[in-house]
């Protein structure tokens, strides 16, 4: 079957039975329709689905959701790849079961924003996505937000969500909290122009002393990119601040401007053939957390953790 356009549903379930009653027919119908089938789910649900599907399980691409849902922008890039593979294999549509790992409480907003962003970035994708929410374990706020990020709700009856908010409206109302910092910064530098970037990196290297090459190189690239971004798009006083905990470096670039107008900035893939627009996208790929605050001026804050 060939369709265009996204269908994005939240499944609110409170038992294995409720889960299987919704997900199994969804996958089996997909098999019958010749759709590509992908399930990024927790281990116990993966076992449930594999058992129930039997030999048909071989037609489903199973993904460990704890690996899949680490950084929202990486997950988005991963879905794009999955969709491209599905299309390359001749499938007209992909059916996806995406059970988000909301993680620690301080990451809940980041993943709720991800659920919202999906509606915009995949609006035209031939994909039917069901996002299961386990009512037995997820906090009430996360479940309530599912009604705002999914146009369709199943609980278990399938219906339009009356509380759905398009991403352009929801994202500004739901700013991602800045990654926490431990007290006063270790460095607080004014930024005037790009000729200072080398000095900025020398300071970052000193603060991340002892780090192996891999996370250090990522950190140097992302601090350079957000500094350049602040210089190019910000206004007034620009400052760069750095903090460090045992295994994490946090960097913030602030300016007096209003911040980016596009609430989707950095989530989407780099525009094809355009030299710009990739900086924040790459930053989101490489950072453990990135948030933009526009309450007083603009603050872009990232954190990178050494493994």
């Amino acid at each position: 079957m060939t369709t265009t356009g996204l269908c994005h549903e939240a499944l609110l379930y409170d038992s294995d039975t409720a889960y299987c009653d919704a997900v199994l027919p969804f996958l089996r119908d997909g098999l019958a329709d010749g759709d590509a089938l992908v399930a990024a789910v927790p281990g116990d649900n993966m076992a449930l689905l594999r058992d129930a599907l039997g030999a048909d399980a071989a037609d489903v691409t199973f993904i460990d959701r704890d690996e899949w849902y680490r950084r929202p922008a990486v997950t988005i890039a991963g879905w794009r790849e999955q969709l491209a593979h599905a299309q390359a294999r001749g499938h007209g549509r992909a059916r996806i079961v995406g059970e988000v790992a909301f993680g620690h409480a301080d990451r809940h907003v980041a993943w709720t924003r991800y659920e919202s962003v999906v509606n915009a970035l995949f609006a035209d994708a031939p994909a039917w996505i069901i996002c299961p929410y386990d009512l037995r374990t997820l906090p009430g706020q996360v479940v309530a937000d599912a009604h705002r990020t999914h146009p369709v709700i199943r609980d278990p009856h399938r219906r339009d969500s009356s509380r759905y908010r398009p991403p352009a409206a929801l994202l500004p109302e739901l700013p991602e909290p800045l990654p926490p910092v431990p007290g006063a910064p270790l460095a607080d530098l004014p930024l005037h122009d790009v000729t200072e970037l080398g000095a900025v990196r020398r300071t970052v290297r000193a603060i991340a002393s002892g780090w192996p090459d891999d996370p250090l190189d990522d950190l140097l690239l992302v601090t350079t990119e957000i500094a350049v971004n602040g210089l190019r798009h910000g206004s007034g006083d620009r400052r760069l601040r750095l903090w460090r905990t045992a295994d994490t470096v946090i960097c913030e670039v602030s300016d007096d401007g209003p911040g980016p107008r596009d609430p989707l900035v950095g989530y989407g893939p780099p525009p094809d053939g355009s030299p710009g627009g990739r900086g924040l996208w790459l930053v989101r790929q490489l950072c453990d957390a990135m948030a933009i605050s526009t309450t007083t001026g603009t603050r872009v804050r990232i954190s990178v953790t050494a493994p």
Partner: protein, 288 residues
């Protein structure tokens, strides 16, 4: 401004092309005196194109700062001219003609047996909107090709009293390195060195690439690709001693249309970034 700052100019080597921002005439003379003294000792020929100061004033100022001006001029090692009597004699800046002029100057110095060629340019004329100066940043980027051969080097003086930060930004980025107002550290040296070999066409990058020099790198990559195509061979870029902290440059390395570069000494980090940036949204109907 202490002695250490002018000492930075001694870290420059043949092949370098530096945007050196200055704030006073005294600073200009102290920096150039040190640059010239270093060049005289290394048997380099030095050509100084002045603009805001008369040639006689430059000569007197250098002399007062210990440069044996008369002796060096008599020996043919030092030439101080006004830019309006030199490459601006026609009343306009002919960016297209400049690389050939520099190549000729270089050939003459070589033939005369000098170990290198140092160019000093007081770029104050560009602030007066001289015809042709609108392409100054493009010229500064393209002329890297001449200096990157490793015989000549250039010290471009930009007076911060004459250029706004916005005017300087594209000019800065056209140079592989810039000594900006915030650079006061001892131990400073050029952030990036570019060296070019013609056969086979190969660009060697040493140092760090970021938004402060990305236009210089972009122009060299374009030139490299053109020359490799003309020679019917593959352009090589040696990045074994380079770190790329610029998404635009990485994008250019991997996605610049039909052009391809053979990268030598690519770090695992660069490989990772190239792979990330090469991801193409491939499903039909998806947003671009």
């Amino acid at each position: 401004m202490g002695r250490e700052v002018t000492a930075m100019v001694e870290t420059l080597q043949p092949g370098d092309h530096v945007c050196w921002t200055i704030g006073t005439d005294d600073e200009q003379l102290r920096v150039t005196a040190r640059f010239i003294t270093d060049g005289l000792a290394r048997r380099h020929r030095i050509v100084y194109f002045t603009h805001s100061l008369l040639p006689q004033a430059v000569a007197a100022g250098l002399d007062a700062r210990g440069v044996p001006v008369a002796e060096a001029v008599a020996a043919g090692q030092l030439r101080i001219t006004s830019s309006s009597g030199g490459y601006l004699a026609t009343g306009r800046f002919d960016a297209a003609a400049m690389p050939a002029a520099w190549a000729a100057e270089q050939a003459v110095a070589r033939a005369a047996g000098w170990a290198g060629l140092r160019a000093i340019g007081d770029m104050a004329w560009a602030a007066s909107r001289l015809p042709g100066s609108e392409d100054l940043a493009g010229y500064e980027a393209r002329v890297n090709r001449v200096f990157a051969e490793g015989y000549a080097m250039a010290l471009c003086l930009y007076d911060r009293r004459l250029f706004t930060a916005a005017e300087l930004a594209p000019i800065t980025a056209a140079h592989p390195c810039t000594k900006g107002p915030g650079t006061h550290e001892a131990g400073w040296e050029p952030g990036l060195r570019m060296r070019f070999a013609a056969t086979p066409p190969r660009l060697t990058l040493r140092g760090e690439i970021d938004a402060s020099n990305r236009h210089a790198v972009a122009a060299m990559l374009d030139t490299l690709a053109d020359e490799a195509a003309a020679a019917g061979t593959t352009a090589e870029v040696d990045v074994s001693e380079a770190a790329v902290y610029d998404v635009a440059t990485i994008t250019r390395l991997v996605r610049d249309g039909r052009r391809t570069y053979r990268l030598i000494g690519e770090s695992p980090q660069l490989t990772k970034l190239i792979r990330l940036l090469a991801v193409r949204p491939a499903y039909a109907g998806g947003p671009a």
